[in-house]
């Protein structure tokens, strides 16, 4: 079943086309990566998919609902972890999680059970009573993702989930994201090749607002004649320039 579908999706600003007529589908339970350098249009795409920005033209559907006309319904299916961690700094880890689950209308018992589940899943037992603003970058990211996941979304958007993290924190977060595979549809943006290679079922390479190529890693390797995502990316980027 298709979880997300973009049809001729375009976003134009005054002097720039940030996303240029892109098309893709993401199957339910798939982990789909939008890979590209800074300014490639990844975040703009995620914003349109999560009802945070209106497309200039084209359509986008999440769980069969139109993100423009049925945005209220779409918002109840999705969870987002923005590029900036976006947590409530003066609330503790547990209070942040409780807050999100209450916004989605969970009853008291469910709020508690989901919070316990998230704290355990993301290994945040030691910091559950610490205020979010005192957490390290890695824990803030984990909390941000947990806040998106606690609402039981069918589709999750992770915008540069490991940006600025050290290698150990990144690896730990990858483990948490891998646990979501098959259970939740995940769309993540990244400019780290190894992240897309390690986590994704399907990768879309974005260059200057367009999807240059899309497929599994082996399909992209076959297509470019190169091995490893970094070489594949460079080859596709150079081909696209010429």
């Amino acid at each position: 079943m298709i979880a997300v579908e973009a049809k001729n999706l375009t976003k134009r600003y005054k002097n720039k086309t940030a996303v240029d007529n892109i098309n893709f589908t993401v199957e339910e339970g798939e982990l789909f990566a939008l890979l590209g350098v800074n300014g490639a249009g990844k975040t703009t795409t995620i914003r349109m998919l999560s009802c945070l920005s209106m497309p200039s033209s084209g359509e986008v559907f999440v769980c069969g609902k139109n993100c423009v006309d049925e945005s209220y319904s779409v918002k109840s299916y999705i969870g987002i972890s923005p590029q900036d961690t976006a947590v409530a700094g003066n609330l503790t880890v547990r209070e942040n999680l409780e807050f999100m689950s209450k916004v989605y209308g969970f009853d008291k018992a469910k709020v508690k059970s989901r919070c316990d589940e998230m704290i355990s899943l993301f290994n945040m037992n030691d910091v559950q009573n610490s205020r979010a603003k005192t957490l390290s970058g890695g824990y803030k990211r984990k909390l941000s993702i947990a806040m998106a996941l606690i609402t039981e979304p069918r589709v999750m958007f992770l915008d540069e989930p490991t940006l600025g993290l050290d290698v150990l924190a990144r690896r730990e977060l990858w483990k948490a994201i891998e646990l979501l595979k098959g259970k939740v549809t995940v769309i993540l943006t990244t400019h780290y090749m190894e992240e897309a290679e390690h986590l994704s079922d399907k990768i879309a390479i974005m260059l200057d607002g367009k999807i240059a190529e899309m497929g599994t890693l082996s399909e992209l390797e076959e297509l470019s004649g190169k091995t490893g995502l970094e070489d594949v990316f460079v080859e596709i980027a150079e081909r696209s320039k010429n």
Partner: protein, 256 residues
């Protein structure tokens, strides 16, 4: 309602855990209450100056305190916008009305509690200086200050919506200065007359202080109480509508 309660609860926690809110919303008004009581005790009786007498002073400082709630409303809204917290919440099934009430209701609670603390402090001071402070007047003033609370919170919402977290506190400081000056908190505006009184009457702050002082002295006459209260309620209603509309439009623009 769940969404409003959850968001309001988050906002109240954010403010109560910021030590600056105690300094500005409680500490500073109480310090001014003490300082001005000392000033009052130094004024000779033949000067016939009653503006700093505890009954007049406390009801004026209650309005002064509300202006700091405006400041913290603006800081909270502007801060959430800056830190992408609102981006996450925009992607949730919260509507603009949930955000608006979620910001305004906790501020209203904080404002009423602040006013209560100011009046309790004033009552203690009144016993120390040996001046009678009517308990019924304090209760009436506490209740009748709610419209001006709403007005200042709406001001805060408006500034937090339009300005960033650096500019919004600056704008609020201007309003605090103008409001306390033209509102007649620190001098008897009615005693000035002329252009000065016309300017004061042109601004809503004058009517906030007038309502508060009249309620404190249990003077419910048309000129001193009813008319000022009507003006404050009208301003509170208008500003709430304008700030809600502005927030809604800003949210729409952010999502365009």
């Amino acid at each position: 309602m769940n969404k409003i309660t959850a968001f309001a609860s988050r906002n109240i926690k954010e403010i109560l855990r910021n030590p600056l809110s105690y300094i500005f919303c409680i500490g500073f008004p109480i310090v001014m209450l003490i300082v001005m009581t000392i000033v009052n005790s130094s004024i000779p009786p033949e000067a016939n100056m009653t503006i700093f007498r505890i009954d007049n002073l406390s009801s004026g400082i209650a309005v002064f305190g509300q202006m700091f709630v405006m400041l913290f409303t603006a800081i909270t809204v502007a801060g959430d916008r800056k830190e992408a917290f609102l981006v996450r919440m925009y992607a949730s099934p919260m509507k603009s009305i949930d955000f608006i009430l979620g910001y305004m209701l906790p501020m209203l609670i904080i404002s009423v509690v602040q006013c209560f603390i100011i009046y309790v402090s004033s009552f203690i001071i009144s016993i120390i200086v040996g001046v009678e402070l009517p308990i019924m007047g304090m209760i009436m003033s506490l209740i009748l200050l709610i419209p001006s609370s709403v007005m200042f919170i709406a001001f805060g919402m408006l500034f937090g919506t339009f300005f960033d977290d650096k500019a919004a506190p600056g704008i609020c400081s201007i309003i605090i200065s103008l409001g306390s000056f033209f509102g007649g908190i620190w001098f008897d505006t009615d005693g000035t007359g002329g252009l000065m009184l016309k300017i004061c009457k042109f601004m809503p702050f004058y009517y906030c202080t007038k309502t508060s002082r009249s309620a404190m002295s249990l003077d419910f006459g048309f000129e001193n109480f009813v008319l000022p209260l009507i003006v404050v309620i009208a301003c509170a209603g208008l500003l709430s509508a304008v700030s809600s509309f502005a927030f809604k439009m800003k949210m729409k623009a952010d999502l365009s």
